[in-house]
Symmetry: D2
Subunit: 338 residues, 4 copies
Amino acid sequence: MKAMYLKEPGTIVEKDIPKPDINEEGLLVEIKQVGVCGSDIEYYETGKIGEFVVEEPLILGHESAGVVADVGEKVENFETGDKVALEPGIPCRKCKHCKEGKYNLCPNVNFMATPPIDGTFTEYFAQPADFAYRLPDSISLEEGALMEPLSVGIHAARRGNVDLGDSVAVLGAGPIGLVTMQSAFAAGASKVIITDIVDFRLEKAKDLGATDAINVQKDDLKDLYGEFDKVLQTAGTSDTYEEAMHLVDRGGKVVQVGTPSADELNIDPNEPITREFDILGAFRYANTYQDAINLVHSDTISLKPLISKTFPLEETEEALIYSSENPEKSIKTMVEIS
Amino acid sequence: MKAMYLKEPGTIVEKDIPKPDINEEGLLVEIKQVGVCGSDIEYYETGKIGEFVVEEPLILGHESAGVVADVGEKVENFETGDKVALEPGIPCRKCKHCKEGKYNLCPNVNFMATPPIDGTFTEYFAQPADFAYRLPDSISLEEGALMEPLSVGIHAARRGNVDLGDSVAVLGAGPIGLVTMQSAFAAGASKVIITDIVDFRLEKAKDLGATDAINVQKDDLKDLYGEFDKVLQTAGTSDTYEEAMHLVDRGGKVVQVGTPSADELNIDPNEPITREFDILGAFRYANTYQDAINLVHSDTISLKPLISKTFPLEETEEALIYSSENPEKSIKTMVEIS
Amino acid sequence: MKAMYLKEPGTIVEKDIPKPDINEEGLLVEIKQVGVCGSDIEYYETGKIGEFVVEEPLILGHESAGVVADVGEKVENFETGDKVALEPGIPCRKCKHCKEGKYNLCPNVNFMATPPIDGTFTEYFAQPADFAYRLPDSISLEEGALMEPLSVGIHAARRGNVDLGDSVAVLGAGPIGLVTMQSAFAAGASKVIITDIVDFRLEKAKDLGATDAINVQKDDLKDLYGEFDKVLQTAGTSDTYEEAMHLVDRGGKVVQVGTPSADELNIDPNEPITREFDILGAFRYANTYQDAINLVHSDTISLKPLISKTFPLEETEEALIYSSENPEKSIKTMVEIS
Amino acid sequence: MKAMYLKEPGTIVEKDIPKPDINEEGLLVEIKQVGVCGSDIEYYETGKIGEFVVEEPLILGHESAGVVADVGEKVENFETGDKVALEPGIPCRKCKHCKEGKYNLCPNVNFMATPPIDGTFTEYFAQPADFAYRLPDSISLEEGALMEPLSVGIHAARRGNVDLGDSVAVLGAGPIGLVTMQSAFAAGASKVIITDIVDFRLEKAKDLGATDAINVQKDDLKDLYGEFDKVLQTAGTSDTYEEAMHLVDRGGKVVQVGTPSADELNIDPNEPITREFDILGAFRYANTYQDAINLVHSDTISLKPLISKTFPLEETEEALIYSSENPEKSIKTMVEIS
């Protein structure tokens, strides 16, 4: 089968490799749709993210859906031909965090497209059956692939305990910002204001239901809307990380999702104390996939409008470059395997 | 001013009384719309509910909205002409429950239309300003009055901690059932199945977005849909109280809202233990009014479709009788004061 | 090796069987101490508990500690000679409940001494390493075995969210009642009143720190102490199940731990609603073992005083009979394997 | 009556003023014991704390207990001669935060000894009855005064959700650190390591039960003990504020109690995200006083060992100076009014 390898920063090569074997609790999945994530781009461009360095050729891609091609002996509930979304992180199931249900914190997780674990820019993938989720007829494979970013949004809304009638600010209107905004509405927020510096993204946010969408190069969110019950930061810049703390009401919650590239940041240490708010990190997600599928199935959350352009598997490198270079006209770029 | 008094069971009389005085932290509110609640009907028909007995003539009505007619000296943020919804229970503000934010549990609460505290089937009412909530232009006075039952629904959804992607059963499709269903959706449920024995109510539930609406005289909910993450019982019958416990998944939550008239009930004591679920009583509400207004303002929740028929103040007795006698064609009956 | 089998109700027989094999993630544990639990006695006397029926000879015993005799290839952190406590329920690790951290609700759990899964009245046992917990030098093997009932108490206190300064009633002063009382104190309760009908147990409770210990055949708890923030029912009778609901303060929590033998029970359905309290089932435990060890190690909780009498493995049947017949002079009976 | 006024930074003067009047819901309290707090010292030395500036002569002191000298007409449950602890912050009871039970966040609170509200370095004080708490015979007036700092510790432990079996680091072993340490143990921690740079305070911490007490000028806490489930920072320095974030385990909670004097601080913004922990501000307390009294009454928490030296009212200035100048031999300095 074909697989697209990151050979070195800036170079994707196609290789022919054997189909993976599956064990008795696994599924062989014919991959059909894979979303391009910012982390794929960062590995492609620089070969590393934080402590993770690509030292051997690596298959990128971790937002994926496909069709079941083979089923392990002990697997129930799946059969050949089922459409499935794949959760990319397989935890150890044995550490304290796994047993407590916070398997996103498992230090021994195998996460697709995080070196040295391969991802899904390829034709077939072996997946433990309990991290595959059947898609109903109402949901396309494209949407299935995007259960991954939606999971980030759901997890952010849960970390912030978004509640009925809350006012919420979402900082950043990229793919994660847009699904976080929708997750905040789905969780009960009656007002969600989203910010960005790219008008295209703000327009998309309005189309998807934002109460208002503010270009922070032109307007000041706090001047316009005051403080918020919850602030969900998805932009990954130092400015938004700090700004989140100024925007939250006393007793509120700030959820930090996007990681700034800066190693350090100046904050006012007294703010969280005298206004007694929470600053809550959010790392990936746990226990979100089935809920994500349910919410798309019930038309509570829309994923199709996020998709801007689709490339074939052979053009994975073009997809990465396109996604990187076109923030002003692209939300989510897909790779399709036919 | 005119006021409609329950003189004795089955008899409402009109009296002319002086307008109430307001204190420095109060508002004088010209009452415009009052919803008829099941408790009003029960007092009208029997003169009592549980330990509460009507011993002196009592003004019924506690789902109310109106227009500010006068403002106490120390009141900020309100002015004459403001449309307001009135929260009917004024707690003591000093007991442990009040201080802990569960003021619905205050043993010293003064609650409209609960003897000996008068309600709002009258022209003017004196209300502490902090239990009045301004209505935006987008919300009518009729809807404002219905923030009260909506508050019950919001409180039920919060007690059940309804979360993103949950499956929920709402038992009973009367006014409380319909707002509870909408609150469950607003809180993140992706599937809400509602039950009743009156087809008219089930149709209304479908119009308001129920995933499905089941007549339990014809079909068995568990056979059709299995178990639910959360079950919210609003029907107030012994059968539904028990059924709620059979319908909930292990680890789930049952919220009991409707009080059966029976003094005792047979339950299987082992069920909540071996399936480790929660049975959670819900009594009135606290800290819901502003959120209710926000959710109607954002079009997340619809109250207008609940209103079936409106009577003038002078026909309060007819409104009570109509509401009692027409469950098969009425959801919420209103009294309008002009 | 020797193993003590329940052949039929009322008959334990000794058999010689091969030592179990371990897999690469397992430990072979030389069992040293096993506590006799009420469920062992019930299986011994009747051959079944609820839906679980002993159809093949079964080794009872699930409160156990021992010494590591062999270590699977992939196991880190353990070596031969380590003292370990064994958590008796091995969940599937793959279902929704396992992934959410509530593995006590796993429908596919393998739980020691629950047919058809054998327990630990035997010389050696193969245990997955991540369900074995190393005991520090300060903790004896006897105490290690009793981490199992202590886990039930810790789980009950957690379900009740026992908080700093709470008043708590614990109904029942058997082994589970006594560890629940200690767990409630450890979680912050400043007053824990315990009840029973056996004075010996109440004396033991006082020795272990009960604020007061009430014989409910002589005195009425509510008359003496009013209502409680939390009520933890461990007695497993219909009376205490109901009484728990009368004893709890509005807004409080009742935790039902003990399962009455009755199939149904009369309750007042309105109580939980008008006083808005929670009734919370507690089934076994999850994520408690390491915490239990920590709390015994820090001398916060005492297990040794619970141990009344010890029998050798060959006298397992005598141990079961002694424990059953001597509630008035026995708390916990142990079986020792030498 | 006598009252000790801060006239200007560095100058306390005695004045004779009339006894305060009480309203119908108030108590007149003869003040007997007042603890000296760091904020009293800061106002004494600099005339301001953050935005709060002493512009008129101000009576300092807010950790106080006394004896009821007169009782308002509507007050039940108190009588002349009762010993009471006084909660120093009287909230508005009407804002969103008050109604939600987080009255420590009330923007309109009147807090003793925070300009322009006078405190209790005086002979009599008028207090709303519901913010006075009766002391049982077992608790002295000195201890009663210290329910205030203990409340800070209880609130910190609650913010951190300290749970059964947790490992906790408390940074800072001053009065707040010592009560926070005890609150963490009371809430279930099985290991509490405390740090400071003053050996006298560390010795006191050991006497009060610290698992270990580390002088961070000599030893590195993380090297010695690794990471903690919860870290409670009470030292109020930039270093400890940052260090708290390095010490917490993934998924854990950092509670920031002490406010550094620095206006800004360098942190690594990625830490809270990739290890997904919470940073939780803690500001004063709410709903702690009765629980604090309960926990001292049950001997769970000891306050007497905190008291280092007592001065008469006339020597309030000496008490402030002594407390400021003797961190190496003083924990809590008291002012006694006879």
